[in-house]
């Protein structure tokens, strides 16, 4: 599904990712943890092609194809999805308009027929219910004035509508109340199958009680310094990161 080999990336002249390698197979859930500023969001940004994030060397294969040469929107249409740590507000563009444009683009790419406006609105309303967002949020500007938790739920709604094959959740659990956390976890679990893969970036073991990962990685200083099973998350929760940095150093 995703094959990252010796990825080096730079932001604003600073090297952030250093020789990062990671392999994700269909159906797997990988959790990535690590200290603030270690490069977790940078990884998601580089994978999705965010402007300003420069890959200096390495390669990434997504479904066997070279990912890094693709346009941002191509990657998305191919099934890559990033739930943003900080979702973007777009006043004046309604959520509904935005979601329809996204879903239209993805469906077209997959060779599926356009959904009629009526069918789409129905689908959008059902999906918003699944993430406990009132349908009124569909008429508002994209993320405009949404609370932190509402923004995160809106991201999950987009994920559900787009049905991506690889979902990266960047701290989707941060700022969520207990109920919302379960909504998000429930959404992810409902979408888990033997083809779809997830990268869950989080600081908290708590989320991983709900979404049980197959692998846990620690990202520090721009590289993966330790990988293990779900028990690694518990160990990190207990011990923090410093022992790993000692181990690396």
């Amino acid at each position: 599904m995703l094959e990252i080999r010796n990825l080096n990336a730079r932001v604003e002249g600073a090297d952030i990712l250093r020789n990062l390698s990671l392999s994700i197979k269909p159906g797997e859930v990988h959790a990535i943890m690590g200290p603030n500023g270690s490069g977790k969001s940078t990884l998601g940004n580089v994978l999705t092609g965010r402007p300003g994030y420069e890959v200096t060397s390495g390669e990434v294969l997504f479904n066997g194809k070279d990912l890094l040469s693709q346009e941002i929107e191509e990657r998305a249409r191919e099934g890559l999805f990033l739930a943003f740590q900080y979702p973007v507000e777009i006043p004046g563009v309604t959520n509904m308009e935005f979601l329809k444009a996204s879903v239209d683009a993805r469906r077209k790419h997959l060779g599926l027929p356009d959904l009629s406006s009526f069918d789409f609105m129905k689908l959008a309303r059902e999906t918003s219910k699944r993430v406990s967002l009132d349908a009124a949020f569909l008429k508002r500007g994209v993320n405009e004035g949404f609370s932190g938790g509402e923004k995160k739920r809106n991201e999950i709604m987009q994920m559900m509508l787009l049905e991506p094959s690889l979902c990266i959740l960047d701290e989707t659990d941060s700022g969520l109340d207990i109920d919302a956390l379960q909504v998000v976890a429930g959404g992810v679990n409902a979408m888990r199958d033997d083809k779809r893969s997830f990268i869950i970036v989080t600081h908290y073991q708590r989320l991983l009680d709900y979404i049980v990962p197959d692998h846990v990685h620690v990202l520090a200083g721009g590289r993966i310094v330790k990988s293990g099973g779900k028990e690694l998350a518990l160990e990190l929760e207990a011990k923090g990161y410093s022992w790993l940095e000692d181990e690396v150093a």
Binding site: E73, I90, P91, G92, T94, E97, F98, A101, S102, L138
Partner: protein, 435 residues
């Protein structure tokens, strides 16, 4: 400096103005206007108020030059769907068939009764400052007819007044004079929609449109001014408003560009506690020009002004925005805010923006700012990261930038009309009906 010769255009326009039939009681105003028009210096590049907006388009060198319009049927302009007191003019000529029946509060000058006539005499040409507004003097010289909206004390006008000016090409280029006078007495309320439209054919008229508004104590006016004509249309418009104690003016204006389009707003806070908001949108493309000049003067204390203008300038188009707020010494406790944001969507597009704040009182809160920018890159990335193409993302963000000012318009008929117009203009009708 300028040469003091009267230009051919001034001469020609005045001749036409003189040929207009009008009630005798308007003669004094017309005479005064004629004098001023003829003696005015023709604006040149050094004329501050016209610095970025050349008037060459008026000095047409066609053998025929300008003439005045003959009555004819309305063209096929797309109008609002609205239950309103409607008056339709075609190239300045009243079209009774397309208009609703007479209404007590809305009359043409030519049908005014004695009371209405004295109101007109009292206010017409008195709210506008003709020394500052050259084309107002032409309007005065020309005034053959016009519309009076008079809302008596304690009355809430039951329907919006919808005044439509349709332009349609004539055999020879024509000048059309449009005149509107709104008088709200104490504690009254009204809604006015001015709509300048044309059919899709290449236009050859010059519309000189002047609106004067007097809002008495505790009264409020909701005002829309829509300028969506074919791009050969020449339009010079002025809206001049006097606000008395605790009155409210809420204005919205939108203009596509044309060979020459200049719109002036003058708002005078004359009584304590008056409130004015004015939001505007301009969208010149191709080789078009739009020039908005707004001048808000605070003469009295405790008044509030909120002004937001946004423009998208494409292709080789040009926009001019000059927003001045002048706070006179007596206007303590003024609150005034002016923001102007511009989006340039091409390398050749141009905007000259100049917010001006002049403050002569010491206890005031004022803010103003102007920006010229490209689309928000983070928002572009966000949209693209959901599979939306770059082109579509640009369109959506441009639409959103303008829609922020449309989505809260209190009159749904105007809002829906403009949102639809913009989705078509921007080529982004996705059919959710929720643009």
């Amino acid at each position: 400096m300028t040469d003091f010769q009267t230009t051919d255009f001034q001469q020609r326009a005045l001749t036409l103005a003189g040929q207009q039939q009008s009630p005798a009681w308007l003669a004094a105003l017309r005479f005064e206007g004629s004098e001023q028009w003829l003696n005015a210096d023709w604006p040149g590049r050094r004329t501050e108020l016209w610095k970025y907006t050349p008037l060459q388009a008026l000095q047409k060198s066609t053998s025929a030059g300008w003439s005045s319009a003959l009555p004819q049927g309305a063209g096929s302009a797309a109008l609002l769907t609205i239950d309103a007191i409607r008056l339709v003019f075609v190239n300045g000529v009243f079209d009774a068939k397309a208009s609703t029946a007479n209404h007590d509060s809305v009359v043409r000058f030519s049908n005014a009764n004695d009371a209405q006539r004295s109101l007109i005499e009292k206010h017409l040409g008195r709210i506008v400052d003709t020394k500052r507004h050259l084309f107002a003097s032409l309007s005065n010289a020309w005034v053959q007819d016009g519309v009076l909206v008079h809302v008596p004390r304690n009355v809430v006008l039951e329907k919006p007044v919808y005044v439509v000016h349709v332009s349609t090409p004539e055999a020879e280029p024509v000048i059309a004079n449009q005149r509107l006078l709104i008088v709200l007495e104490d504690n009254s309320q009204a809604e006015l929609i001015e709509h300048f439209a044309s059919d899709a054919r290449t236009q050859n008229s010059f519309v000189n449109a002047l609106t004067e508004v007097s809002i008495a104590a505790n009264s409020s006016l909701q005002h829309y001014r829509i300028n969506l004509e074919q791009e050969a249309q020449i339009h010079i418009g002025g809206v001049h408003i006097d606000l008395q104690r605790d009155s409210r003016y809420s204005g919205f204006t939108i203009a596509e560009g044309s060979a020459l389009k200049r719109i002036d707003y003058q708002i005078n806070h004359r009584g304590n506690g008056a409130y004015a908001s004015l939001n505007g949108v301009y969208l010149p493309r191709n080789n078009q020009l739009v020039d908005y000049h707004t001048n808000v003067e605070h003469w009295a204390p405790h008044c509030t002004t909120s002004e937001i203008f946004r423009g998208i300038i494409g292709d080789s188009a040009r926009a001019v925005f000059n927003g001045r707020i002048l706070i006179h010494p007596d206007a303590q406790k003024t609150l005034a805010e002016l923001s102007n944001r511009n989006l340039l969507t091409s390398d050749k597009a141009e905007v000259d923006t100049k917010p001006e704040l002049e403050i002569y009182a010491d206890d005031v809160k004022c803010a103003h700012g102007a920006t010229v920018s490209q689309l928000d890159q983070t928002a572009m990335y966000y949209l693209q990261s959901r599979g939306v193409s770059k082109t579509q993302a640009r369109t959506m963000l441009s639409f959103g930038f303008i829609n922020e000012l449309l989505q809260d318009l209190p009159q749904p008929a105007v809002r829906d009309y403009l949102q639809h117009h913009l989705t078509v203009l921007f080529g982004m009708d996705t059919g959710t009906g929720l643009s």
